[in-house]
Amino acid sequence: MAFLEVKNLQKYFDNFQVLKDINFSLDKGETIAIIGSSGSGKTTLLRCLNFLERPDKGSIIVDNKIIFDAMDPSTQKESEVRKKRLHFGLVFQNFNLFPQYTVLKNVTLAAELLAKEKANYKQDKKAILKEIEDRGKRLLDQVGLSDKLDHYPHMISGGQQQRVAIARALALEPDILCFDEPTSALDLELTGEVLKVIRSLAEGNTTMIIVTHEMDFAREVSDRVIFMDDGMVVEQGDPNEVFTSPKEERTKQFLYRYKQ
């Protein structure tokens, strides 16, 4: 069985069906890119995986454990949801860094708060916090920002902010890292540095789901491409196949429009 299984996922906003029976799976270490035009439901799908939206039907299974089942309320308890969402990390289109904290604190804050729930927190406080800080610094080094630790978000560029956001998502060591159009809010010249970081994560076998409008990047970085349209998975497969010889008419039209 695959590491992540999404089954029959459906989502309505009032009477409008945004997701119509979404099915897909993801193996450990695999990177999938989700492409499709605006309004096709890509972002909603990511938000469902991160429990920011509650699907109306379907289930989500991670590592053989049912973490969400629309038919089973016991999988939806608020206190449980908080822990379960840690299977996933999410990098937002607009970064959403915390403006009042330094770059380093942005990365370490959530881990520090979670550490307080540990039984040995009081005795080993210093060691635990030190470890979190070291990991934060390591991650920021990994995204090329070790010289910005003490900067506040408003002092750095959008591309740098997004790289901090990636480090922040990685800090909690999620099983699956999700990207919601990570470069859409960036100028063209800043897009490259963010894509480079994501590329290096893919090379390091991070399990990722990337929603993107960067077709060349999707093709290059992903192991599999999913094309969504009108709330459905229309086509999925090897990126080279999907991009060079799409089977479905809707995929062809979408890619044709993109080339223009």
Partner: protein, 220 residues
């Protein structure tokens, strides 16, 4: 000369009442205002409607009327619990009226501040496994404070001057004290009271500016 010193002394003494009323009102109305703002944002509609109605009534009627009703109301309505007699009762009931009134104004400022924080801040906290209270205290609160500082400063300055209204239920505050001299034909004590207010507001303005600068280290 001696008379001047005596009058200044008595004015200063009576200004302590203004100051105490000011300080107590701030200390109690800010937390109460926060509670009211949560009520006015509640998803439970009966509570939300109730709280918003109270805010409407309090903001929609004069503070002077509220002072009178809160002071005389319990006794005239034959309630079993009334205010303590004498000076203490007059001061406590004035404080109660001020706290209620200012809490309602603050609650609307807080609500505006809280609702102005981008949804993405909450969502970023959520996906990082934070609890609701962690998100509020660690993420949004400071951003809210930064945003609401100017309107809160306005209310605080208005409060300084509003404390004089407490005289309507015979609290001997500074203007009432000066008025006693005016009725004896002495006008300068009335002008002098203005200086007390000006100096006090001046100090507060410096404090508020300092706070604003303190929070200027980040942008939100």
């Amino acid at each position: 000369m001696n008379e001047i010193m005596v009058i200044v002394g008595r004015l200063s003494e009576s200004f302590i009442l203004n100051f105490r009323l000011f300080a107590l009102t701030l200390v109690f109305s800010i937390p109460l205002g926060l509670v009211i703002s949560f009520g006015s944002m509640s998803r439970f509609s009966p509570l939300r409607i109730l709280v918003r109605t109270i805010v409407w009534v309090i903001r929609g009627t004069p503070l002077m009327l509220q002072l009178l009703i809160i002071y005389y109301g319990p006794g005239l309505l034959g309630m079993s619990i009334t205010w303590p007699s004498g000076e203490a009762g007059r001061f406590v009931s004035a404080t109660a009226a001020f706290v209620l009134n200012y809490a309602c104004y603050f609650s609307e400022i807080f609500r505006g501040g809280i609702e102005s924080i981008p949804k993405g801040q909450y969502e970023a906290g959520q996906v990082l496994g934070m609890t609701k209270s962690q998100i509020f205290f660690k993420i949004t609160l400071l951003q809210v404070i930064k945003r609401i500082l100017p309107p809160v400063g306005n209310e605080v300055i208005t409060l300084v001057k509003d404390t004089s209204l407490a005289r309507i239920i015979a609290n001997k505050e500074i203007i009432m004290m000066a008025g006693e001299y005016t009725s004896k034909g002495l006008i300068w004590p009335l002008f002098a009271t203005g200086i007390y207010f000006l100096v006090f507001v001046g100090v507060l303005t410096i404090l508020l500016d300092w706070l604003e600068k303190k929070l200027g280290y980040f942008r939100a």
